[in-house]
């Protein structure tokens, strides 16, 4: 009997597919910490669909193709501190978080580090989209430039989907594109690590002490070790403030470790800075020779306010070649700020939103998700 014949038997019920998928996810580390009162080591499969969601090929390919341009855009914007300041100063007036980041960026720009061409910056960005109906256009919701998450678990979900479609009669595995997010994130961090080139150094992962999405982070640490023999150390911003210092060369030392790369999986929300200690930690990293993923400037370049400004006519063209700007603009959904309610355009937008609330989402200026009003 050939395996193919038996595969016909294997058309599974949704319940069987769910049970098999839960088992597969749990066997392959597609998990999150259980949290609550359970032991810290307890986990449960991450939320997932059992099968891939059909998605039109053209906008998918377009999104893949535009990503390098978006990365160049973030880099170009991050280097224009005058632009960042002009765009964000009004937000900074009522938002201490943005004000602190701007201040830190100013200090960095004023320091010698900025003029040192050896500085290594790493961008691990996630651009989020929604497929608009009925236009069929893919519209960018936001571009994450700090602590972009679910690259690891997303890669494993793609493997699960390939596994499930291979088993499901009538669906081929060819339809599930490979998802290299985990591998490429690891390559990026390892490349930065090697570029910084410090003996016996580590990747410092800046984390929350109680992180439910631990395994999405851990897969990156595991792969850094397994593929590159690079060790990762997890610390909170408060840990870094307590244990960290800069040596004479400006290298960040944290406890016994010399830090080649600071990789943020925390620090993107005001909640992550309950006291000035956390800002001390951030400042220490920012002023060190460590490669930052990201710098404060990259962080600022990803704020909604900056994205809103970039969407205005002629602004993208300050940072990108005309052709690239044209490509990027295709993905821009409308973004409207509310800081100047006397502005006629803002008034028009607010009126439209009150009349047709179903067309709008109210998003905060900062990163983190889960803070939207529909």
């Amino acid at each position: 009997m050939a395996g193919e014949e038996k595969a016909v038997e294997s058309v599974r019920s949704a319940e069987e597919l769910a049970q098999d998928s839960i088992a597969w996810a749990t066997q392959h580390g597609l998990v999150m910490r259980l949290g609550g009162d359970s032991p810290q080591a307890a986990v449960i499969h991450a939320p997932m669909t059992l099968l891939p969601t059909p998605f039109p090929k053209e906008p998918f390919v377009q999104a893949v193709e535009v990503m390098p341009i978006l990365n160049r855009l973030v880099d170009a914007v991050s280097r224009d501190s005058a632009f960042l300041k002009s765009v964000l100063s009004s937000a900074a007036q009522y938002d201490d978080f943005t004000a602190n980041l701007l201040e830190l960026n100013d200090a960095t720009m004023a320091s010698s580090r900025q003029t040192d061409s050896s500085e290594v910056v790493v961008g691990v960005h996630r651009s989020d989209y929604m497929l608009d109906e009925p236009s069929g256009k893919l519209l960018q919701v936001e571009l994450n430039t700090i602590a972009s998450s679910f690259g690891s678990l997303g890669s494993i979900v793609s493997q699960l989907h390939a596994h499930n479609t291979a088993q499901q009669a009538g669906m081929g595995p060819d339809g599930v594109p490979a998802n290299a997010a985990l591998a490429e994130c690891v390559i990026a961090l390892a490349t930065a690590y090697n570029a910084v080139d410090l003996e016996h150094s580590v990747v410092l992962m800046v984390v929350e002490s109680d992180e439910q999405n631990y395994y999405d982070q851990q897969w990156i640490a595991s792969q850094l070790w397994d593929v590159y023999s690079i060790r990762t150390v997890r610390k909170t911003l408060a840990d870094i403030a307590s244990e960290g210092n800069l040596d004479d060369s400006g290298n960040l030392r944290c406890g016994d470790h010399c830090v080649a790369v600071a990789y943020f999986r925390s620090g993107y929300s005001p909640d992550h800075y309950p006291t000035s200690r956390q800002w001390d930690g951030r400042r220490l990293i920012e002023s060190s020779t460590a490669a930052k993923c990201p710098t404060v400037a990259y962080h600022l370049a990803g704020t909604k306010k900056v994205q809103q400004q970039l969407a205005r006519p002629g602004v993208l063209e300050q940072f990108l070649e005309e052709e690239d700007a044209f490509h990027v603009r295709k993905f821009f959904a409308g973004l409207w700020g509310l800081e100047d309610l006397s502005d006629p355009e803002t008034q028009r937008t607010v009126q439209e939103a009150i009349s047709h609330p179903e067309k709008f989402v109210l998003k905060p200026q900062r990163e983190g998700g889960g803070n939207n009003l529909y």
Copy 2:
């Protein structure tokens, strides 16, 4: 910088090693269900040592070498129903469980199945030992012939140990022998499946409905699918009694499935037979054409009473070549039964146990573990 240089940095504290090992175990499916009030899908790493336990090579190699002989012994004993009956009839008088198994074996022997040379039997046996001090001898504690567990998780623990020793400066990975228990269990079941050769059939895994050690079982099911495209269906003995029947050819059908192999991961304890329905399920399997892992005869051959009898002078030689019997006997610790307290040898043993309780373990006749008195 070479990876080797960096490995020197990686001598980890016990706490770091523990955290890394918990993460590794969770990423690689070395897990058990959390149980209790937690969601059924919640898991936690299996109990494990962080590093392999040093073990003398000679007894290890001897244990590996004697295993095929023990397997032949089980097979030979299982075919001698008169021997099984004579050894177990006294236990059957006060133990319904053993009585039911003996009765089922008698019925099987009396049926046409026994004379059908095409019958396929699969043994997945686990021989448990303790290293005796100060003799240095490896002594067999018991031989499990039904539902031998931890083959899968044991294999993954070996991978963890190889991983940890590779990272730990001063320890090489060569010292951790490969553990092929999972792979070989899967090969055994697949071989049986192919020998039975029924179109569109499945492996029926006989399980408890609420199984904490689910993933040790699931790895076998996953590998059967991934390597051989053989599907596994989980059913309790009660499910099988309800959904099962024999077709005209004596093939076991269970729901929509035709069963090529019945693989028991339950059924070894009286607790698994709360009503006669479970015995109905066992009987249905036993009387079918399905390959059994194990048959009732194999199950009986693994009872303590039989092992105790085999340890008596001259008994092994009824079933094995003299040279093989000599090898096996080296691993026999003393096993003493208590059913005849008037027997002078039993009286002597009991007196010795009362005087020196530290030398003895009181074990029940049946399988399952956890029922010992020290």
